[in-house]
Symmetry: C2
Subunit: 255 residues, 2 copies
Amino acid sequence: MTAAESAPSASPGLSLRERRRAVAVREIVSTAEVHITEHGPHSLSLRAVARSLGMTVQALYHYFPSRDSLVTVLVTKAYDDLADAVQAAVDGTPDDPAVPRMVVAAEGYRRWAVTHPERFQLIYGVPLRNYAAPAGGSTTLALRRMSAIFQRELLGGFTTAQLDAADAPALSPALREHLERLPVSGFGALPPPGVSLLLSAWGHMHGLVMLEVMGHTAFIGAHQGEIFSVSMRNMLEDIHRRIPAAGSTGGMPDQ
Amino acid sequence: MTAAESAPSASPGLSLRERRRAVAVREIVSTAEVHITEHGPHSLSLRAVARSLGMTVQALYHYFPSRDSLVTVLVTKAYDDLADAVQAAVDGTPDDPAVPRMVVAAEGYRRWAVTHPERFQLIYGVPLRNYAAPAGGSTTLALRRMSAIFQRELLGGFTTAQLDAADAPALSPALREHLERLPVSGFGALPPPGVSLLLSAWGHMHGLVMLEVMGHTAFIGAHQGEIFSVSMRNMLEDIHRRIPAAGSTGGMPDQ
DNA sequence: GTCTATACACCGATAGAC
DNA sequence: GTCTATCGGTGTATAGAC
């Protein structure tokens, strides 16, 4: 992996040449994001970015070995920025029992998506034409970061025993076993009903945002945020209703 | 609008020339769908379709005045096929109190999406590059057909008074007014809380399917259908729990 | 590190012969 | 209705001069 393939960031201990290069890479990435914002993710090309920069295409090949490497950086950065936005929304909101942190997190998710619809599409829309994601699954890491936030805000206050006793249709033994074998770094710390609830909540949140970003709910007009928030509150209420009180299963919250 | 711009169908009362033309259009559309299935919606081009048909591009221009007209037909047909699949799922399942019709409909939605992921992406993914949807909103009609199915299966058994009294966070006056002014042909027949619940349910269903189709839940493996069904059952249960019994509001179901 | 020049593919669309 | 030929544009990527 070349330097261009990892997201650019402040790099204090590098040589002048390396710092210059990092600045150039940042400028290229930034210009590419502007282009995506203005013309959609599927019109991204090295030529277009080069044009905007007043350079020729070939100069870009000194920073990115291929178009795919640029796309990978953009996708990874979008995941990171989205996770940052969600985290910032949670951190920046004073605790208020009337506004659950999960709802704040979901609203941060939606806010970023409607503010950066094209970059959201870059992540969650149709994969780019002729783009092959790197084998290592570098985007999986960024995705997991965000899912961890929602896992914490949605289910962080409950014990494994509580989640395991959630009131919902029983999962099949095969599914339970599969979920229990998931790597602990992901959802593995949750019991199967917890994974199921978290996935359901994620889909609920994501689907409403997706429909809005793609324009399928345009007839709602400016009130989509309100419907989204109400839906998220209902969702949270329902999930909490399904999880029994701590006393009935014993134990303290384990995270 | 030329004949090529409307979806092809059996046309008994037409001349020989018109029937030949309809057959040719059907073949072109079918080939285009195969191409989308094999290479993704964003690689669709008249040239590629012509190649598969053993024709030259120019021949296609005798059936479709532009690429966009072909895309519009494909999008409209995908909406229709999806609605057909959902309707067929509902119609083809014997009444069983253990499997609510809404869940059957949702499973039909998911089934079509995972069976035809590229065509689902064509509808709900990122709009095609350089494609401008026709001004008339011809796809809106096809979309409304499907939303009507879910409206019926999810809320058809409840009166306006029941839906209006649903247990959920109150909607703002501005939003209530906006929803009440919607054209009756769409969700207009529902009271504002009904629209909100239906939209929330649609987003929930759609989001889970979208995540699966785009591969973001691949780690669940073959059990995604089960998690989906459980989520839909929970969703239905929650919505029904929020709607008061008929006796408490009076009146008979009005549809 | 950036440039010109180039190769080779793709695309949508049009003109005119048959 | 289909063809050849063509225009003008897109794109990724490489070679070699400076």
